[in-house]
Amino acid sequence: MTRSLLSIDDLGREGIETVLALTREFRDVSSRPIPKVPALRGKTIANCFFEDSTRTRISFEIAAKRLSADTITFTQKGSSLSKGESLRDTVRTLCAMGVNALVCRHEASGAPARIAQWVDVPVINAGDGAHEHPTQALLDVATVADHRGDLGGLRTLIVGDIAHSRVARSNVLAFSAMGAQVTVCGPATLLPPGGESWPAEVTTDLDAALEKADIIYLLRMQKERIEADPVFGSIKEYVQMYGLTAERAARLDPDVLVMHPGPMNRGIEIASEAADLPASLVEEQVANGVAVRMAVLYLALGGTP
């Protein structure tokens, strides 16, 4: 039996609460004079980033080191994948060398789940295509829990390119599992097909949705996607309809929490004025990332021989 984390659905509410409890402990560890515990001493964790990432990769590396695990980092560039080796052979080779867990980021949805079938060590999904990014959702839930305690009934509004966002998908699952009421909002062309089946309301009217939100979560918007969109065609029009502009931010109740997974496109999905509001949790989200990833790695590998 392995303890992979491929989707938020692998955890359920109870699993998320365990992660939150461990996250609080690991945040304490990170604030100590020696911010390190021996929990995963002797374990080797491979960070396999088949798609580029800076913050997630570094966050996982720091998390592993604070648990005393050894880490190796593997990126597509310069790997034998560029010599034509198959993904299956690559990950099986790593495991043959004695790696105890794989952290995987891949541009293809479902790649980590596929890898988990090929290897007998835990696989942690660090973002796969437009599918899921579970550790991002866990750190978002942890950040909100710091401010609001219980997430029950919190009206959570996720705005942007829902269809292509693994962050949106994992957050819808995580927030709804914790009892929040989730609404996703974006232009009709960027709402997911089959979105009706999500545990969330779907709307295209941002201004109406903003009126009744306790949390506003802006997704990173890719410029190319707006420019290719038949409805918008220009960034300016997108910002007018779906950006958290300074004017929209000024209308928000001061208690409303503003979140973004980073990296932010200031001036597109979020105006600088909104990103720097006191209610903006963006930096806290990043800080929680390390502790959440320590919790996830500890649950995957802790206590095993």
């Binding site: 365990t18 409890a21 461990l22 402990e25 304490d28 560890v29 100590r32 004079p33 020696i34 390190k36 515990v37 021996p38 929990a39 648990l67 500890y298 649950l299 590998l301 802790g302 206590g303 095993t304 021989p305």
Partner: protein, 194 residues
């Protein structure tokens, strides 16, 4: 909490005997360290924490000043193989600087010594204490590491098949130390003190 499997054979300490043992340990700590100055009591979760507070109160009753009390959870410092990762049962809190303090670790049962070893590692991540001492309510023997207690409430010869159960009013409904059997229990005391 895994309580169901425990079948008590004998009561080792009752409420009054536990109170007297704590009072004696408090006096021994004062005598050995020439007073309460620089003493930091650190309880191991779960039952070491209320014990540490009781010892601090007993010291305050004699000296008029209570030593600082902290707590430590050793989940991330364990060296034993488990079927599942253990989630800490309480916070690790060290209220004063560990550097140059005399840290008295407090636990309910001393058995293999592995918990005490893990707690010493945890304390040393907070600084360099002048000394670390160990106070336990019950020492049941069977050490697997070169560790001994400085202050012992009760020496209790036991077999490895037996289980020692410590109950304290702050956590449980009553104060008692019992010895018995619990077929499904592999560790030293109920609640997995190792």
């Amino acid at each position: 909490m895994r309580r169901s499997g425990f079948a008590p054979k004998a009561r080792v300490l009752d409420e009054d005997e536990i109170r007297r043992a704590i009072t004696r340990i408090a006096h021994e700590i004062l005598e050995r360290n020439k007073g309460p100055d620089g003493v930091l009591l650190v309880g191991l979760h779960t039952r070491g924490v209320p014990l540490a507070h009781r010892i601090a109160a007993a010291i305050a009753a004699v000296e008029g000043v209570a030593p600082a009390v902290g707590s430590v959870d050793i989940a991330f410092y364990r060296d034993d193989v488990q079927s599942a990762p253990r989630v800490p049962t309480g916070p690790t809190e060290v209220p004063v600087a560990v550097d140059d303090a005399t840290v008295v670790l407090v636990d309910d049962v001393l058995y293999t010594g592995r918990s005490a070893r893990a707690a010493m590692d945890a304390i040393c991540d907070f600084g360099r204490p002048r000394a670390i001492q160990l106070a336990v309510l019950v020492d049941r023997g069977h050490r697997e590491l070169p560790i001994r207690a400085d202050y012992v409430g009760k020496n209790l010869p036991s077999s490895r098949d037996e289980t020692v159960r410590v109950r304290l009013g702050e956590v449980d409904e009553t104060d008692a130390v019992e010895i018995g059997t619990s077929p499904d229990q592999v560790s030293g005391s109920v609640e997995a003190a190792t």
